[in-house]
Each structure stands twice: as C-alpha cells, then as structure tokens.
Amino acid sequence: MNSAIDHFLADGPAQLLPARELMAFTLGSHILLVPFGVALPAITLLMHYRGLRKGDAVALLLARRWSAVMAVQFAIGIVTGTVLSFELGLLWPGMMGRWGDVFGLGFGVEAWAFFLEAILIAIYLYGWRRLKPWTHFWLGLPLPLAALMGAFGIVAANAWMNTPRGFSLDASGKPVDVDVRRAIFTPMFGPEYWHFVVGVVLTAGYVIAGVYAVGWLRGRRDRYHRLGFTVPFSVAAILTPVQFMLGDSIARSVFHKQPVKFAATEIVWKTDTHVPEYMFGRLHADGTISGGIKIPQLDSILAGFSPDTKVTGLSSVPASDRPTATQATIAHWAFDIMVTIGSLLVLLALWYGWCWLRRRDLPRSPWFFRCAAVAGGACLLTVECGWITTEVGRQPWIVYQNMRVAEAVTDTRAPTLWTMLGLVVVLYVLVFGAFLTVLLRMSRRWRLADEGAGTAAAPGDVEGDTPYGPRPLSTTGGKDGGGT
C-alpha cells in the first residue's frame, strides 16, 4: 500500500491523494446502502403482496418491519448520496466544468427518478395505517421502477466515464457537437446496467435472508423465520446464476471496449496470444508476476473462447496512460475476489435449488444456513470489489482517454482535504455505527416482543414510554393530545 501512495503522490498534485481517498471513502460507504435503496422496496412489496393475497399475517408483519428498516436506511442513503453530488463539485470541478453538459443528463434522469422514489416511499412507509390495504400496495408498486430508473441515470454516467462518446473535440480541446443519445447509451452502458441491477437485487436478497438464517441457526425455527428467509433467498438464488452469466459478459465487454482495464484486472503485461490466467498474484513494475495460481491459456480462452485470442497487455500503452502495477494488482484482486465469491454463491444457490426441487423444503444442514448467513456480507464485499475493479482499473483516467484524474481535481489545498477526510471518516463511522445500533435495537425489541407476545410491554419499553419526543398520534392520541 505504501508504494501505491508513493505512486499517487508522484503522479499528480498534492491534493490528488486526499481528494481520491475522500471520494473513495464516501462512495464506498454509500454503495453499501445502494442495494437496499434499489431492491429493498421490491422485496418488501413481494412479501406485502403475499401477505395480502393469502391473508398471511406473518408476511404482512415482515413487510411492515422491513418498511420500518427501510425508513431509516433510505434516509441515511439520501444524505450520503447528496454528499456525493456535492463532492462532484468540491473534489472534481475540472471534470464537471468541462464535461458536465456532455454526460450530466444521466444525472438529470436520476434526480427526477429519485424524487419520484422519495415521494412514493414516503407514501408507502406512512401509508400502512390509514390507507386501504390494496390501495397502499398499488401506490407502492411503482417504487421498484423508479429505483431502476434512478440506477439507469447513475450507471449511464459511470459508463460514459468508462467509454466516453457523443462529442467531438474542437481545436482547444473543448467538447463540441454533443450527441446526448450516444453519450447516454455508451458501449459499456448495457453490460454495466444489468450487472449492477441484478447485483444489487441479489445482494439485498442475501443480506435480508442472512438475518433470518442467523435466527434459524439459533433455534428460532418458526414460520416467521422460514418466510423471512425463503422469500428474499429465493429471489437471490434465482438471480445468482444470471449474475454469473452477466459478469462473464461484462468482463468480455471490458476486454473489447477497455482493453487496458482488462489487462489490469487480469494482470496481463505483454500483448500476446495463449495468455495464462492468474488467480490472485501480484504484478511488479517490471512486468513480472509473483505469487498466485497460474492456469495456462485460460485468459485467452475466457476472453475469446480460444487459446489463440490475442489479449492486449498493459505495456501496449505508455506508463503514463495505464494503471500502475500496484493499481493493476488492486483491480486484479478485487476482480478475483468478486469472481470467487460469485462462484461460491452459485454453488449455494444450486444447493438450495436442489433441496427445493427434491423435497420442497429448505436444506436441513446447519452448514447451509451458516453459509447463507455470511452470503449477505460476502455480497456486499463483491459490490465493493466490482466498484474497485471498474474505478481503479480505469486509472489514471477520470474520463477514459480524455481527462486524467489529476486534471479534474480541485485546487483546494491538500491539508484542507486531509482535514475534511478525517472529519468525514469520524462522521461516517458515527452515522453508520448509530445506524447499525438502531437496526440491532429494533430487531432485539421485536424479538423480545415476539417471545413475550401476549404479555404486556417488554422491559426495554419502560424508558420508551417517556420519550424525549412524541408518542405516535393515532392510538395514543388522546393521551398526548390532552397535554400534560
């Protein structure tokens, strides 16, 4: 990591490293919430539908509880997302100033879609009590569509950074002749979009199912846990093999459209045919590779279905136009971790599918539930890895082959940015820590309430009855409304 820092420092102005770290940290934190922002409403609606359709009180209870979680998660997602919009200006004014009108429209679509999502989610979250059950459900139904639309905008913008087009440069290097349609539907857009959408849905599915897998392992084998596990896990398990194919396809798109990034993720140094595949391993600045497992011919076969496929190497472009050896190693590891976890998840999904086909029941082995319990965390790790692969693999470009990260960075002095980074890290640790604590407390409260169902209030509620703020209106309205 130290050599990475040296490289970064050598490459650009002093503020480049803190700006990069700040962006990486805030985006890396926000991205952990993205799967839930996009997919939690969809999975909740699925459960909600089941509850209404079959008159299933347990399913409705699960949907209501997921809504309560969604309310907190969505709020944290909004604020961490707004920070990213600010950072585009605070950290990368050069990129937005030069290219804003070329690729910004995707964000425009995203902003409106997100607005729609915020409205619909408010109606959905607060509509449980007073709206008619089916009206409530139908008002929530457009939510997943709005989320997909929002993802469309963001991914379009990122895909444009990877394969920019839809403009030409005038004599002074300014973009002119903007063609918005070409700028939104860039070559990387399709592969990135579907890989992203499927990835976030299955991540949300595994994380939610993981919560109930833990409960199951602890012996709470009731219908509540079975349902809470089965619905999200089935969604995720169906999508896992699909994602495996999509991941394979996006890797090949990268091979065709961003050969240097492909070389970095596969640590290919010299352009050649019969290129071996390295599992992990480390690339050195002189092009040698240490460690890792070498599989002859495989990289060429994966890229073009034949050992004769020619794979472009990193050394095909000048050192200043490609990721450094360390960056390539980072992208390579991120890629390999993602692929490894993805493959293991396919096995887990097959295990589940097999038991379901044979016995119409969940697998009996506790090992299945142990794996399912960690699958969510592993999925979040793959989300981070996928993002690291695409972003680090693009270095040193912020707009591939058109603008370097160093050209886009703010003039704000490095000490200011380091201070801000320190502040933001502390802030985010507190916010995410508090967020997790609140979720755990909610879950504990519900569990205690479930265990003592029928008896009056759980012990934790004693303090809750004399809150700093208000008690809810409706049921206890008389007590509060009277004033004390």
Partner: protein, 349 residues
C-alpha cells in the same frame, strides 16, 4: 432561447428548494429552540410528526439544483464549487448530520440517544441553511468570477453574512407558519399560539435583517441591490412584503391554511426577485446565462427530461401533500410491529 428556459428552470427549482427545504430547516430551527426535554416535549412531538412523511421529498430539490447546474451550466457549477469550497463543504457535512440525526432519533427509544440525535439534527438545521445562504450572498457581491480560487473573503463578507442570516430567518418563518397550521391540523390548541408567536417574531427579525441587508448590499453588491430596488425586481419584493404582512394577519385570524400559502409566496417571490435582479448574469457581473450555458442539444434534452419529470413527478407530489394534509400518512407504531398487532384483514382485490 433554450439557455434562458433552463435558467428559469434552475430558478424555479432553487425557489422550490427554498420553500420546501426551508420549511424543513425551519422546523429543525424550532426544535433547537424548543428548550429542555420536558418543556420541549410538545413542540418536538409536533415537529416530528409534521416533518416525518415529507422531509426527504423536501430535501431532494437540492439534488436538482446541483444537477441542473452541472448539466445546464457546467462553468457555473465549477466556479461556485471552487470559490465557495468551505461553506459548501460544511453545508454538505450539515446535511449528513441533519438527515442522520432526524432519521435515527425516531427509532431510538433511550432518552440519552434521542437527545444526542435531536441536538445534532437541530444544530445542523441552523448551520446548513446559513452556509448555503452565505454562499449565495457571496455570489451576489461579484467577488467570484470563473477562475476565482477559494478564499474566506468570498463568503465571509457583510453581504454573505446577512444573506446567511436572512436564509435562517426565512426558514424559521416558514417553519413556524407551517407548524402553526400543523398544530391546528393535529388539534394541538396550545401549540397554535406557541408557533404563531414564533412566526411573528421571525417575521420581525426578517424585516430588521432585510433593512440591514439593504444598507449593506448598497455598496457591497451593487448590481443585485439595484435590481432589487428598481423595476420588476422591486415590484416582486413589494408583493413579497405584502404577502408576508398578510401572513401575519392571517395567522392572527387563525386562517392558517391561507397563511401557509402567503408565507410560501413571500419567500418564493423574494427568491424570484433576486433571480430577476441579477439578469442576465448567473454570477454578477462576470458570467452571463449564455456564457455559462452548456451544449444546446443537452439543454434541449434537459428541458425535455424536465417536462417528462413534471408529468411523472407532479401528480405523486400532489398526492403526497394531499395525503399528508388529510392526515392519511402516519408512521408505524411499535404496536404495529408486534406479532400481536391486530392483523388487518386483507381485502380481495
């Protein structure tokens, strides 16, 4: 012209944020001043209830402001975020604290936790609009031009400070008016008087600040000052003053529904007047709308996207506000999240 149309859209969105976001910040402001746990219990109860369903929506307007800035006027975005680095960075930090504080306070049951989250929410409700206002005020002075580097002077001058304070006072005014209306809606008679008094006080403060502002901007932000004190700008300002006074009267007459409308109108008119005052500049007097405009094709698409969005987002937005004012939106209670919750019998579709 396309770029003018986009500039109008930008102004409209800024106005919407000033009104919707402003009301929201104002509620936070009164949360801050509500006093100790015991004394502030009732006002905070109302603030929580009034804000909850709509605060996210109210704050999404800010994202549009940013998106329209960078897509429609990339140079403006670059200039503003370079020159106003610190206030905008602090505003971003404030937004995180505010949102997180508010969202985490509700599901927290321990008193100590609620206190911390509530304090964080309330303090950042004060700081965020101040920094945003200060940045806008700094732009009006002409201290910033494309290429200007970040400096404290750009946002810590007289006009900036006054603009920041005016923003805070305006949010407090809007918040108090809306909370008065909400107090009536929730049948909390004691709080009607409580927030009505605060609305009047904030209006008085607003008036004093506006007078100080007139003096300060005379030399410090001449272009905008002239625009606001003559011609169409002045007309808008005068109408805004009338509707602010009307708000005070309507509150006295307990016509809180109308008071909400006139309060929003007064703030919106001032924002629009300020926009008109700095025509044809986006940043007086160095960057005009046409100089800052991005590619024409993009601007046309941006208008198209906006038009589609109005069609798509408008009806749900109206529905949300209607449901909210009709009292149909209520948070889930602990009892709803219990297994013993009376399962409402689902109907057949």
């Amino acid at each position: 012209m396309t770029e003018d149309a986009v500039a109008w859209v930008l102004l409209a969105v800024v106005t919407a944020y000033a009104c919707a976001g402003g009301t929201d910040y104002g509620a936070g402001f009164w949360d801050l001043l509500a006093g100790g746990t015991r004394r502030g219990k009732r006002p905070r109860w109302l603030i929580d209830h009034a804000m909850e369903p709509v605060w996210e929506t109210n704050n999404v307007w800010l994202i549009f402001v940013l998106v329209i800035m960078w897509t429609g006027f990339p140079v403006l975005f670059q200039t503003v975020f370079t020159a106003m680095w610190l206030p905008l960075a602090l505003a971003a930090v404030g937004l995180v604290l505010r949102g997180a504080g508010f969202a985490l306070r509700k599901p927290t049951q321990r008193l100590a936790g609620r206190r911390v989250y509530g304090a964080v929410f309330a303090v950042s409700s004060l700081l965020t609009p101040f920094f945003l206002g200060a940045a806008v005020g700094g732009l009006a002075t002409g201290r910033v031009a494309p290429g200007t580097e970040a400096s404290a002077d750009a946002w810590s001058n007289g006009t900036s400070v006054i603009a920041g304070l005016l923003t805070v006072a305006a949010t407090a005014f809007l918040g108090a008016v809306f909370l008065t209306a909400d107090a009536r809606r929730f049948d909390a008679a004691d709080l009607v008087g409580y927030f009505r008094l605060r609305a009047w006080c904030s209006l008085a403060v607003l008036a004093v600040l506006a007078c100080v502002g007139l003096v300060v901007t005379r030399d410090d932000a001449r272009y905008v000052h002239d625009g606001l004190t003559s011609g169409i700008g002045l007309a808008f300002v005068l109408v805004a003053v009338v509707s602010a006074l009307a708000t005070a009267v309507l509150l006295y007459r307990a016509a809180t529904g109308w008071a909400r409308i006139t309060a929003v109108a007064s703030v919106a008119l001032v924002v629009v007047a300020w926009g008109l005052a700095q025509r044809p500049y986006l940043i007086p007097t160095s960057l005009t709308v046409s100089e800052a405009a991005g590619a024409t094709t993009t601007l046309r698409w941006l208008l198209l996207v906006t038009a589609i969005a109005v069609v798509l987002v408008g009806p749900p937005l109206v529905l949300l506000y209607r449901l909210d004012t009709a009292g149909a939106l209520q948070p889930l209670t602990e009892a709803d999240l219990r297994r013993t919750a009376a399962g409402r019998e689902p109907e057949s579709p």
